[in-house]
Structure formats: structure tokens, C-alpha cells
Symmetry: C2
Subunit: 334 residues, 2 copies
DNA sequence: CTGAAAGCGCTTACAG
DNA sequence: CTGAAAGCGCTTACAG
């Protein structure tokens, strides 16, 4: 294929003005059936493609949206992004996915880039506790996913992490009162909600004591060492089985691996509850009991709202914040 | 933050022409230190941001590259993409990631979109056996990853799947001569290479018989059923342990799960070799022995070459095709 | 139904 | 050192 051809060239070749060509392309304004055919023929023959850069400049509309993702290799994120991308594509938007690597600087940098490329809208996925839109033009449609925006006027869609944790905890409590929670080092806003769900449920059920471990970031091996020490302490001398609520499936899977190592029987002596239903959950043995997030619904809400905003509509008051229900998936570890 | 401000406004506010403002911004052409300070001050005060759409239009350069990915939720792809994105970002390019969902139509559609957004270059990751660049302008820099281009002039970077399969097969052969291969339904070009590595090694070592299973796409459950039947047949009455070369870690993990189910001892009676070293490999128990692809090197080669091409340099003849070495990771299943 | 012209926000020869 | 003007490829009031 040769170099790009412009509307001007098409106009020349079909013996009409550029204005007319533009009208034909966009099927807008009036022109005779005859010119339409003629122009379309020339366009086809020359494999003309609209230059969207020029069009964006003129129209102040790019049909592009940006997505900020903290870590695209995280299955929950990549899944959600993939579905959002699909939804937006169907509506004629293409998606610029930006990996912020959980870095404030990169996040800011990418916001700048996206802005200067004049995206029509922005979807921001968690990474820090809050997202500050003060760097953004006031009129840019923005949807936050899984991260509470600092500004309460920004639309927000997220799983009901609190409710998920309540379900998880009650399920564990039905089997044993000897509970523990295992968390990651740094807490996202969703992580805090999960912790809150756990603790408030215990409080409500009048369980006063529970174990707690914070696993600091590091290699899988490091993490397992910390878990090993914890399990050895916790399992020691207790009559009741131990029920562990892990704040992610990754943690849950590691706990399971350590349990095998220590010859602790799962789920007989140790019950493990994960969170996310990530791919590894199904490849553990036994498979992990966990809380599944509904990425499809999440993505649908987020892209639907963004499109609404980009079409110039406003969100009703009760649409600003949307909690997506989660689901308890009972498998082998409980 | 308020609406966008243009170079024209900045010119007005600083009492110079737009030409001068442009020169100051790009530090290009000559201007007095005094005007520089003045203009920069106004820019800062007004939070001016270049409109890259306009700049692209004028410069025929967008500092944007497109990546076509068949499935962003596949860890190998998302990892590779993430690293490429990082490399390009450091060179001032932002990346548009397009999920083609292994659909020819979507692939074509996205190529069009990317083209019309005037990307400076394109990275194409496997999905079909070959990629045809006839729809692309002749002068657009393109790098293929993991998929042989139909046109042998396109630069290509991929893991040495053949060599990986040879290593895997020889390793298994050292333990047992009773081998089998388990493949996916649809073969990518990399898959075919893996098969070839397996078969040629067996031929070389004069092993004439081996088992073979093609697992058709479906739910995890479906796949496990097919594997179950296969294992029951293969394990029946054989004295030697069975060594299975699975064409992906996903397959390997499912085989392992079925083995547990059938109370087959791994690695005593059954040895399993995966491919990719995907995240699930480390969460199986025992952990999977597998062949690791070097995503970092892969990404480095791909982004490096693309940048070279985008800078107008040519690739030396021996740079067109680059095979990246893979590594045998011995863990618990062999 | 059709065209000439302005303008989106930039950069860059050209002239001074 | 600085400015006026052209032009990147489009769309759209305006005039006819």
C-alpha cells in the first residue's frame, strides 16, 4: 500500500470540491446521488482513509478514551480493562491503555499525555487510595473504578468489597470461631473495605480475638516464609480449626502452599478464604473458596456511564456511586 | 482547572507572536533570554499544555505507537506489553494497546484506526499464524512479536520455541522413554514450533511411539474431562512413568489437577512439563517444571528495534529476525 | 446541490 | 531576535 491520500486529492480526482467530498464521507449536507457515487468510487479505488488527527483537531472530538491502570498484569485489572475496551469499541471509541505502575509521577505524566491527545473521556482504576482530578479540565468526563475519587462529584464504580468481606467472614464463622486475617502490606481503598467488613462482622458476632498477619511485599518465597511463621504460631495447640480470610487469592494460594509444606490438612485443620476469583484460584489444589468480583457488570457500568457523560448527558444523583455485588464461590479450601 | 489554553492566547498574554511562543516551547530557533523568561512565566501561570493533536497534524509525527495484542488477559502477553510500554514511555512515546480478541475483523479494524490516528509505529503480537502488512502504508515501521510475518522483510522477535521444546523433551527423555504431548486445539506459529521441537527430538533419539492429545477449547471442566480420559488410557498397564509435555502451563496445570483426582503420583508415576512459566506455574502443588520465556529481553528487542525504525534508521540484515533464548525451570512436577 | 473560505492549534521557512 | 503567513487535513456556516 502506498502513502496516505487526502480529501483534497479525492476532490481533484472526482472533479468536485473538498467540501463536497467531506459531505459525502460524512453523509451530511446535500449532494446528488450522482456525485455521491462518483466520489465513493474514487475513494474506494484509492483506498482513502480519513485522517483522524485532522478530524479531531477540527471537531474537538477524538473518539478516543484513556484508561489508567495501575498494573495490567493483574488479572482483575486486565479482565476489566479488556471488557471496557470491548464495550467502548462497539460504540466507536478506541482505547488508550496506560500502565501507571502504581507511580504517582507516571500517573500524572500519563494524565498530561492523554489530555494533550485530547481524549474524550477518562477511566481511572485504583492504585492509590484516592484520585485527584484537579489536574484535569473541568469538562472532561471521568469515571473512577475501584478507587474512591477525592472529589465526590466524580462518578465511581466498584465492587462491594465490604459486603464481600462480610459474606466471607460469616461463612468462615459458621465453621469455626478461630479466625485470622492475612493482608498485604499496602492497602488500597478496596483493601480497607475488606478489612472493615471482616472486623465489623466479628464485632457483631461478638468474636473478640482473631489472628492477624501483614505480609510485606517481596518474592513469593519471602511471603511464604512470613506465612509459615504465622501458621506455625497460630496452629499451635488450638483445638478448633483455623479459618483464614486472605485479602487476595494470591495470598490465599501462598497460604495453601505453606499448609501443604507443613502437612496441615486443608480444609480439615485449616480453612482458607480468598478474594477475587483470579485464575490461580482454579489451579490450586484444592481449589480456592473465594469471593468473585463481577468484572462484566463493573465494566458495563463504567463504560456505560462514561459514554453517557461523553454524550453530554448528566448522571442522576443516585448514579454517581455504584456498588457492584460480589459472589461467594465455595470450593475446596473451606 | 479550566478549559484548555492555546499558544495564541499565550502569545497575546506575553505580548509576542505565536511563532515566538512556539520557538520558546520547543527551544528551537533564536530568541532573547528575556522573551524566553517572559513567555515561560505566562505558560506556567496559565498551565498551558501543548495540543498534541495539532502538533501531530503539523509534524506528521505523533509520538504514539500502537500495539496489537490478541488477548490482554494472557499473562505472557500482558507482561510483554507492560515492559514494551515502559521502554517506549522512557523514549517519549505513549502506547495505544488494542485488544484484537483473536478476531481477523477486529485486527483489521484496529489497524485502520491506528493508522488514521497516525501512529508512528506498530507492534503486532501473534494471534494468527501470520500477519499481513499489505493493508499498511509501506513506510510505517512494524515489528512482529511471536508471530511470523507473511512478508519476510518485516522485523520479527520471538522466543526460541523450538529450542525450548527440545530442552523440555530431552529433559523428560532422561527420565523416561514413555512420552506424550498435549496440545491446544488451535495452533499458533509458536505452538507449531514447540510441536516440531518435541517430534524432532524424539526422532533423533529414536523414540518411535508417543502419546498425543489435542484438548479442544472449552471450560476448564471440559478440558479436564478430555485429559482424564487420556490419562486413564495412557497410564494403563505401563511400567515406566509417563512423561507429558504440555504445550502451555494452563494445560500442564489441568493435567496436574486431574492426576490428583485420579490419585496418580506426580512426579513419581507422572512427570509434567509446562511451557511459559506463567503465574499459575508457581501456585500449583507441586509447582510446575516449565520453560520460561524471557519477556524482558523480548520486549527490549522489540521496542529497541521499533525506535530504530521510527528514527529512520534501517535494520541490518541479521537484525530482521531475532530468536530469544528460553530457560528450563526445574520444579516439582518432574 | 455545490464551492470558496475560515478555522481547529500548531510549526517553520521566509523576510526583515 | 522576531513576526506574518502558509499549511498540515479536515468540517461547516455562508453564499449562491
Amino acid at each position: 500500500m502506498n502513502k496516505k491520500i487526502s480529501i483534497k486529492k479525492i476532490a481533484e480526482l472526482s472533479g468536485v470540491s473538498v467540501a463536497t467530498v467531506s459531505r459525502v464521507i460524512n453523509n451530511n449536507g446535500r449532494f446528488s446521488e450522482e456525485t455521491r457515487k462518483k466520489v465513493l468510487k474514487v475513494i474506494r479505488e484509492n483506498n482513502y482513509q480519513t485522517n483522524n488527527v485532522a478530524k479531531s483537531l477540527r471537531m474537538h472530538k477524538s473518539y478516543t478514551v484513556g484508561i489508567l491502570v495501575p498494573d495490567i498484569t493483574n488479572p482483575f485489572f486486565s479482565n476489566t480493562v479488556q471488557i471496557i475496551e470491548k464495550n467502548l469499541f462497539e460504540k466507536g471509541y478506541s482505547t488508550i491503555i496506560c500502565n501507571t505502575a502504581r507511580s504517582r509521577d507516571k500517573e500524572l505524566e500519563y494524565v498530561k499525555i492523554l489530555e494533550s491527545k485530547i481524549v474524550d473521556g477518562l477511566i481511572v482504576i485504583s492504585g492509590f487510595k484516592t484520585f485527584d482530578r484537579k489536574n484535569l479540565p473541568d469538562d472532561l468526563p471521568v469515571i473512577c473504578i475501584d478507587r474512591s475519587p477525592a472529589d465526590s462529584t466524580i462518578a465511581f464504580v466498584g465492587s462491594d468489597h465490604y459486603e464481600g468481606a462480610v459474606m466471607a467472614t460469616e461463612f468462615l464463622l459458621a465453621e469455626t470461631e478461630n479466625l485470622a486475617i492475612v493482608k498485604h502490606d499496602e492497602q488500597s481503598s478496596s483493601g480497607s473495605e475488606r478489612v472493615r467488613g471482616f472486623e465489623e462482622t466479628l464485632f457483631k458476632e461478638k468474636v473478640e480475638k482473631f489472628g492477624s498477619l501483614i505480609v510485606s511485599n517481596g518474592s513469593q518465597n519471602d511471603q511464604q516464609k512470613q506465612i509459615k511463621k504465622f501458621l506455625q504460631d497460630e496452629m499451635n495447640g488450638s483445638k478448633q480449626p483455623l479459618g483464614v480470610f486472605a485479602l487476595s487469592d494470591t495470598l490465599a494460594a501462598n497460604i495453601l502452599l505453606v499448609a501443604h509444606d507443613l502437612s496441615i490438612k486443608v480444609p480439615k485443620q485449616l480453612k482458607i478464604m480468598g478474594f477475587d476469583d483470579s485464575p490461580i484460584a482454579s489451579y490450586c489444589s484444592p481449589q480456592l473458596t473465594t469471593i468473585r468480583q463481577n468484572e462484566i457488570l463493573l465494566a458495563k457500568e463504567a463504560s456505560g456511564k462514561l459514554i453517557k457523560l461523553m454524550n453530554g448527558e448528566n448522571l442522576a444523583r443516585d448514579e454517581i456511586v455504584k456498588k457492584i455485588p460480589v459472589q461467594l464461590i465455595v470450593r475446596g479450601t473451606t
